[in-house]
Amino acid sequence: MLLKNLRPVSKSHKGDETVDLRIGDGIIKEIGNGLKEDKGEESHDFGGAFVSPGWMDMHVHLREPGFEHKETIKTGTDAAAFGGFTAVACMPNTSPATHTRDVVEYIIKKAESTAVDVHPIGCVTKERKGKSIAEMADMKDGGAVAFSDDGDPVYDSQVMRVALEYSSMLGMPIINHEEDLALSRPGHMNEGRVSTRLGLDGTPGIAEEVMIARDILLAEYTGGHVHVAHISTKEGVDLVRKGKAKGVNVTTEVCPHHFDLTDEEIDHQKFSTNFKMHPPLRTQEDVDAMIEGLIDGTIDVICTDHAPHAIEEKEVEFIYAPNGIIGLETAWSISNMRLFKTEKLDLQQLVEKLSYNPRKILNLDELALEEGAKANLTFFNTDEEWTFDKKNVRSKSKNSPYIDKKLTGRAVGIFNKGQLVLSQLK
């Protein structure tokens, strides 16, 4: 297969040259200029789009097994491919919870035929109850890449200590949903000026920060690797920055909505539940701190926390609506608009956050853009203007704050597992 007119972005490519790629047997066979198609060879002209090592979203909820009315592995991976991701790591708050090897293997098996690699994250604790650690080693052997009770924090400090010690023996990270529940409940949005105005109970930033501080101390003490899930506050980023400077094995990730939107939206959008997620949208100061953290490397990864919910679940009173929004299909556009177009990050840095770093944190092979390497590729542009129209959403759920929004830059396709998937609109 010949893929023409692509601008490579990788550790060794800045995206300033245009090449053709020949792919065969799932391998990059040839990179060069003016490659001629062999007789009968499939050929696609990308018209100068960028190509990079395949992106990975290390924080998604595919909802299967158990919540197939929200999303399935099929629809979730379709959304991932549409958004430019060749791999996802899926969170274990399924039903049954992904807390034993058989559930890990079930998910992997279900995802076999998709073009997207699905890497399950196993529970930290049995049944996600936060009481006693799950069979981490067995889940690792089954294919789990990390452990998390996401949706809920590992709340008990002793359980977290044991989990970090045990997982460090396996060389695996614990991804913690950082939330001190006593401080955060019954919050429905960020605590601050806007929550005061709207009379909604607030979740203060400190509910996140005290847990991050605890986990950094525990990681330092145990030698474990804590990955701070979906960071959202300025102080939280500062804590991670200090932890890293001290040599603690701590990494973190941020979702596009947390470096794009603020809590003011809940007022402007008249209590739209598509702006309700956890952690909640914070303030402009926090948004700025996310971008600062991405620039200086404190924040390693851009992820989406893709959290599908059915229409009837979200179309309810604000305080009854579940937390979460879908994000796979808009992550690149928001990153492009907020980080690249504003010259905060260049394309190489963005590919680091979208491909190299998540794979490194999860101990997956680094992908290369060179002859002989596995063809695991993402194609994207930075200038295309498009509208995120509800009827084109690939995810089974439509709970996105970006519905009907004009976006700039799109992921135009992926190549993985021998399959080329192009994200043409239906």
């Binding site: 605590e191 601050g192 000026r193 929550s195 005061t196 105005r197 709207l198 009379g199 909604l200 109970d201 607030g202 203060p204 008249k270 209590f271 009837e312 179309e315 309810v316 009173e317 604000f318 305080i319 009854y320």
Partner: protein, 317 residues
């Protein structure tokens, strides 16, 4: 100016909160309410203004006085009224709010008066149906008719509220009354100070354009009107307390008989229901300085005015 200008036209479809109402809108509603207040003093306090209107009172949260007040206002204007309360409704069968309102609306309803514990429900209803929506309290967000009746009552002794000093005392965090009052009073030019234990005052509240005091004596010495808010006793369950005891609350923030002598100028208001001996001593509530029962009477008049205006009665054609 204490009245809207001559070229003013009322153009609101709903009453979701006072945040959507301009100073002129508020003054106009209060002006209209005066005529309805007079009607209430007639031997037969009824007008046929809404006799072709059907109104549903949709109460998802318990309320005695607000519901009675709305219902009386509606009946005094001849409207057809149906009451829906969560305890007797299909919500027990798991029907969503959207389905409920769309079903009710299909029975040809002109207006919906809604009370719900979730902020934003009135806004949500405007997206579900065409009827005019009146917010009768959405969580701790807004309770616009309460604030209107409070301002109406204040106008009875301070016809112009510009520069008037209003203290709101008590549980600010969990009060819907306070937010609408802050918005309305500041639009009419009054100064507002919130007073209560720090744990009952939300963060960054000064961004709403008010001041905060933790000292009741100072506050009462300053104010023209002291509005005490109800302390919700159920918030004092063990483990969830935001202040140590009701006794200490009363000691520090309860209005007492001595205060009336010491500070002879301020009037006393309360949205009810009162916890006598907590927010104020019984004698204070029953004193001549208290206008608490006037608030209740005025509430009917203010609600009549709002219903009249939103029914299109005064819409400019």
């Amino acid at each position: 100016m204490n009245k809207p200008p001559d070229n003013y036209a009322f153009n609101q479809k709903h009453l979701l909160g006072l945040s959507d109402y301009s100073r002129e809108d508020i003054l106009y509603v209060l002006e209209q309410a005066k005529s309805f207040r007079e009607i209430l003093d007639r031997p037969i306090p009824k007008v046929p203004t809404l006799r072709d209107k059907t109104i549903v009172n949709l109460f998802y949260e318990n309320s005695t006085r607000t519901r009675l007040s709305f219902e009386l206002a509606q009946k005094r204007m001849g409207a057809d009224v149906v009451n829906f309360s969560a305890s007797t409704s299909s919500t027990k069968k798991g029907e969503s709010l959207k389905d409920t309102i769309q079903n009710i609306s299909s029975m040809k309803i002109d207006m919906v008066v809604v009370r719900h514990r979730s902020p934003g429900v009135p806004h949500f209803l405007t997206q579900c149906v065409d009827a005019a929506i009146l917010n009768a309290g959405d969580g701790a967000h807004e309770h616009p008719t309460q604030a209107l009746l409070d301002m109406f009552t204040m106008q009875q002794f301070h016809s112009d509220l510009r520069g008037k000093k209003v203290a709101i005392i008590g549980d600010i965090s969990h009060s819907r009354v306070v937010r609408s009052n802050i918005i309305g009073l500041t639009k009419l030019g009054a100064e507002v100070v919130l007073c209560g234990p720090k744990t009952l005052i939300p963060v960054q509240v000064k961004a709403l354009g008010v001041d905060v005091s933790y000292n009741l004596e100072e506050t009462l010495a300053w104010c023209d009107v002291a509005m005490a808010l109800r302390i919700q006793l159920e918030r004092q369950d063990e483990g969830t307390e935001l202040f140590p005891t009701l006794r200490e609350y009363h000691e520090k923030f309860g209005i007492k008989l001595d205060h009336l002598d010491k500070y002879p100028d301020f009037k006393i208001m309360h949205p009810g229901p009162i916890n006598r001996g907590v927010e104020m001593e019984s004698e204070v509530a029953d004193s001549e300085r208290a206008v608490i029962l006037d608030q209740v009477t005025n509430g009917v008049a203010v609600r009549m005015a709002v219903l009249y205006l939103l029914s299109g009665g005064n819409r400019v054609s």
